[in-house]
């Protein structure tokens, strides 16, 4: 493990704990960044036994030094808060509950939905602004502005740093689920470079598990956890031996994680018994069908997508549904279904169109659609995958004799 991976793994947790100790996210981020700067000089080749605890302790001490020199109201407030802390052991590690507090603070209903997600991805997921911009399909400057504004509002409006009480959860929960879903997605197909950011996937699964422990009676929390487990289970088969993307139909199913699939299926069955379907439970059910038996039962998948589209009539759901339409009713119907979708900048729309056009034998149109998708794709592995598909079309089709 090097300093970069420690930063990735510990940044969010350390900021969450320091926010509790200092009562301010901005001060917490500064202190944690200071501590990492010290770590760069002190650690060298050997990491301390518990890097997270080292960062929290160093950040806390740096913050105390810093606040003693300051005399602003915020600084006095933070100092008072620090002094009121009960005697903690010298090596204070990041605290798990702090992360949940931070998630609910970042996803507070008084913040706009976009601000909630951007803030959580930055503070909990430790994502850089550029990565968040891609997850949003939004310009980097806009996202950066949004995060800054949200942090200022949390401080100035007095948004509390706590886990909501049971009665508040129905209102406070949906934005948290959206955010965890997006963190997982960013990990599953990351913005740039390698295809998968395992750390983010595991982080999202971990946080979803924590939420499910905290709220076992919320069907959508269970649905989200099941969805993430069933998707995560297929991750080992999604990248081939030379790092290339392997689509679902061509995946080696023996590489799938059986334990995660069993756990996911059990959670989906729990959801079915409860019979209060929601978008996450439906997506989990779709993934349960994909991971059940030797091949996907597409009729069942399409029926679930029809139900999902009624719950969340978004262009992305319509696009995913079209993939099932193609399997059940053929590519021509699927093509018609996505004809009028408006998803500017989203490479999977032209990529899906290219695949359907290929199957219809409309090679020239398919190549044009692949070109469009390649230009929009930012992940190297996905781009290579699209280029390979496109290259197959550009070559004359091999006849039966050459097989």
């Amino acid at each position: 493990m090097d300093l970069d991976s420690v930063y990735r793994a510990e940044y969010g947790r350390c900021v969450a704990t320091l926010t509790r100790l200092l009562g301010d996210i901005g001060l917490a981020e500064e202190a944690v960044q200071d501590a990492f700067a010290v770590a760069v000089q002190k650690w060298g080749d050997t990491l301390p036994p518990n890097p997270g605890a080292w960062i929290v302790t160093t950040a806390r001490n740096r913050a105390i030094d810093h606040l003693r020199r300051e005399s602003t109201r915020d600084a006095r407030h933070a100092q008072a808060l620090l002094l009121r802390q009960p005697d903690e052991p010298q090596e204070v590690g990041p605290v798990r509950d702090d992360e949940l507090r931070m998630i609910f603070t970042c996803c507070h209903t008084s913040l706009s939905p976009l601000a909630q997600t951007a803030l959580t991805l930055r503070l909990i997921g430790g994502l850089e602004v550029g990565e968040i911009a891609r997850a949003y399909l939004a310009p980097e400057a806009t996202v950066s502005q949004r995060i800054l504004r949200a942090k200022k509002k949390i401080r100035d409006a007095g948004i509390p740093y706590r886990v909501p009480e049971a009665a508040e959860l129905p209102d406070r929960l949906p934005p948290v689920l959206t955010v965890l879903y997006l963190v997982f997605n960013e990990g599953y197909t990351s913005t740039s470079g390698e295809l998968v950011r395992t750390d983010l996937c595991l982080e999202a699964v971990r946080l979803a598990r924590s939420l499910a422990e905290l709220m076992p009676d919320e069907p959508e929390v269970i649905g989200l956890l099941a969805l993430l487990l069933l998707t995560e289970a297929r991750r080992p088969a999604r990248v081939g031996p030379s790092g290339e993307l392997v689509v679902l139909a061509e995946q080696d199913r023996s590489l799938w994680n059986r334990d995660l699939i069993a756990e996911g299926h059990e959670l989906v069955r729990q959801c079915l018994r409860r019979a209060q379907p929601g978008p996450y439970q439906l997506q989990a059910a779709i993934n349960a069908v994909h991971t059940d038996g030797p091949a996907t039962d597409w009729t069942q998948v399409l029926a679930l997508y029809d139900q999902l589209l009624r719950h969340s009539p978004t262009p992305i759901v319509a696009l995913n549904r079209a993939v099932a339409v193609a399997e059940v009713h053929g590519p021509a119907q699927a093509l018609a279904a996505i004809d009028e979708l408006d998803l500017p900048g989203y490479h999977l729309l032209p990529a899906t169109r290219a695949d359907l056009l290929t199957r219809l034998g409309r090679t020239a149109d398919a190549i044009a659609a692949y070109d469009e998708a390649i230009a929009l794709a930012t992940n190297d592995t996905e781009r290579t995958f699209l280029e390979t598909r496109r290259a197959r079309l550009a070559r004359p089709q091999p006849g039966p004799a050459s097989r």
């Binding site: 507070h108 100035d156 409006a157 007095g158 948004i159 509390p160």
Partner: protein, 118 residues
């Protein structure tokens, strides 16, 4: 302890309420105010005359100009307000929900920056 302004947004283009509606409204908001007092959250409350009664006094190079009417000529005007004290935004929003339901108008919740004696 923080302080928040709970400002009532009044749509002046809407027809004025009947005498009876107005009295009911006062009774409901009065109940919320009484609740604030017994919870120790109440600092101030007042209902305002409509914006036709407003004058803006504006400084300019050490002299003053006066204009008839509010800052902005929009149909949404400040109709009245509460000032409350509480621990955090969640508590302020819980009061704002009660106020909004009582008066039937949107409430803008805004934290104070400067509190005398703080």
């Amino acid at each position: 302890m923080k302080q928040y302004l709970l400002a009532v947004q009044d749509d002046e283009s809407a027809p004025p309420p009947s005498e009876e509606d107005f009295r009911d409204n006062l009774a409901r908001t009065g109940k919320v105010t009484a609740e604030m007092r017994s919870a120790g959250a109440w600092v101030f409350v007042g209902g305002l005359m409509p914006s036709h009664a407003t004058t803006v006094v504006r400084p300019h190079n050490g002299t003053i100009t006066m204009t008839d009417g509010p800052f902005a000529e929009t149909k949404e005007q400040l109709g009245g307000f509460w000032v409350i004290q509480c621990d955090d935004l969640d508590q302020a929003l819980a009061w704002a929900e009660k106020c909004a339901l009582a008066c039937g108008n949107p409430i803008e919740v805004r934290p104070f920056n400067i509190i005398p004696g703080d």
